[in-house]
Amino acid sequence: MGKLRQFEKPTGFRDFPPPTAAKKRLLERRVQTCFQQWGYREVLTPTLEYFDTVGAASAIPEYKMFKLIDREGKTLVLRPDLTAPIARMVSSVMKDEPLPLRLFYHASVFRAQDDSARTVEFFQSGVELVGDPSPEADAEVIALAAEALSACEISSFQLAVGHVELLDALLQEQVEDPGQVERLKERLGARDVVGYKEQVAQLDVSPEGRNLLLRLPHLSGGKDRLEFLRPQMRSRRVENAVRHLREMWEALEDFGASRHVVLDLSLVGSLHYYTGVYFEGYALPSSFPLVSGGRYDRLLERFGRPAPATGFALKTDRLMEASPAADREMERVALFYPRSARREAIRRAQELRREGKAVILHVADDKDPKTEIDADRVVRWEEGEDGR
């Protein structure tokens, strides 16, 4: 660890020069238009939160949080996600606002990485729909995620949808030991299909049960996948979850979004956090998810206002790489004027700006005739001219 050089910044944080910042802003504007058209309203939450409240309620594991100590010795975290802060907000400053609430945000989240060179500050734009347990609410956020990806000109994306409660209930129908169920879910959560199957092979279950469990990681497809489960439905929990998914699927058909959706019953998000539908969105050439979200019906009660809720976060940094979207930029005009014509030049600049151009004013200085300005067009104001 040598002496810091003056230009350094903390590892994992990044600067965004104008083209990068412009791309980020462009995508944020586009998805914001979608969010607002669906009735979502913007909220802002603090960068710092208490670890014991928001930190502990977050889906992000503790070892990924940046912690600080405040003057009273309380542990603070740089917000690891927006869902927990918004749950806190809905339960406090917005506690008198009737549910359902539709909220959105653009914000950065902070997640420490094992690999120190990796990015730790991520930009997200997301929505939370609080207070609606219906399959239509799940369908709404999935359809809105699809619309937001389309607004970013992402073509042929796929949203993989799982159901945490259904998976849990299916496993519990076959496997009695809760510890085993937990380990099976952990394996699936870690995308370790080999480890999952090894464990299934060792379970003391019926041949049909084993068969079903072994097929789970390969059960992805459309609504017909739910029909496959019909003969397996032994418990009310499985039945309810299957009905919820079927109704959600039918709503997605009405939203016109089902063509983007693939059901994957082995897909799980952060365990102990999501309680129902969970989804992730992918599009080539990006190798990382562009969006993830789902239903978290147990979070709000931690803040004293029990309510079902669902939502998603778009991974803005990944979207910026994947999206071909480009804005038709304002024409940039550099207007060079002699001091003697400053008042007229400024008036002319204002006219051009009202016409929708970006105008950069610059004093034409004979001593430095080579001044370069980043502009599409250069206008030099000659003495006695009007700059047209």
């Binding site: 094992d114 796929q158 993989a160 995308r191 370790d192 299909v193 080999v194 480890g195 199957k197 090894e198 092979a201 072994l214 390969h218 992805s220 693939v262 994957d264 992730e280 992918y282 599009a283 080539l284 050439p285 990006s286 190798s287 990382f288 998810p289």
Partner: protein, 213 residues
């Protein structure tokens, strides 16, 4: 998406030949010699497959970042690297184990030291055993460490045990059994699922020890 081409990262060295035999048995014939003469990639256009060679430890990285859709890699590397990839199939090849070894007359020292190429795996293992050890990371010739007095024990990969025997070391405990795995990028697993499933089931059909699907 039947026309998708899959790019597969293959590990140089020990595993490569057995992996290629398995691919050949599954109907994807690639000559090991094709990778010689510094050729970087080998393609099977009819099968829609493209292979490239990399250091074994880098295979999970290539797959996580999606420059390879799939990869073949030892479970030891997966455990050590902890990358976010799908582990799809136990290929059952290059079976070996990660083991703790030492000189036959070793005694726990005051400040036990363990030399290894696998600091994460070794660290986790001794943590689970409730043992406090200092892990020393080496890049090779780990079996020398007890002989020259660098460490009292080592954690290393053992297949036949010959290297250990030649250096007068004995195997004390098995940390984990290791075979090679087929891994997939998260996005490729979904967006090229047709091609991935096809390859996966053909490989599973010829896998000796793997869990069948």
């Amino acid at each position: 998406m039947a026309g998708d081409t899959l790019t597969i990262a293959m590990p140089k060295g020990r595993i490569l030949r057995e992996a290629l035999e398995l691919f050949e048995a599954a109907g994807y014939p690639v000559e090991e010699g094709a990778f010689e003469s510094r050729k970087l990639t080998v393609t099977l256009p009819e099968a829609g497959l493209s292979f490239f060679l990399s250091k074994p430890g880098d295979v999970p990285t290539y797959v996580e970042y999606g420059v390879a859709d799939l990869g073949v890699v030892g479970k030891d590397v997966l455990m050590e690297e902890g990358r976010d990839v799908y582990e799809l199939l136990d290929l059952g090849i290059s079976r070996c184990r990660i083991a703790v070894a030492a000189l036959p007359d070793w005694r726990p020292s005051l400040h036990p030291r363990v030399a290894t190429k696998y600091p994460r795996i070794a660290g986790r293992y001794f943590l689970e055993q409730g043992e406090q050890v200092e892990i020393i990371r080496l890049n090779g010739s780990v079996e020398l460490a007890p002989l020259i007095g660098l460490a009292d024990r080592i954690v290393d990969i053992v297949s036949t045990g010959r290297t250990l025997r030649e250096n007068g070391l004995v195997e004390l405990e098995t940390v984990s059994v290791v075979t090679s795995r087929l891994i997939a990028n998260r996005a490729s697993f979904r967006l090229k699922s047709g091609a991935v499933d096809r390859l996966c089931s053909r490989l599973a059909a010829v896998t000796k020890e793997g869990v069948r699907t």
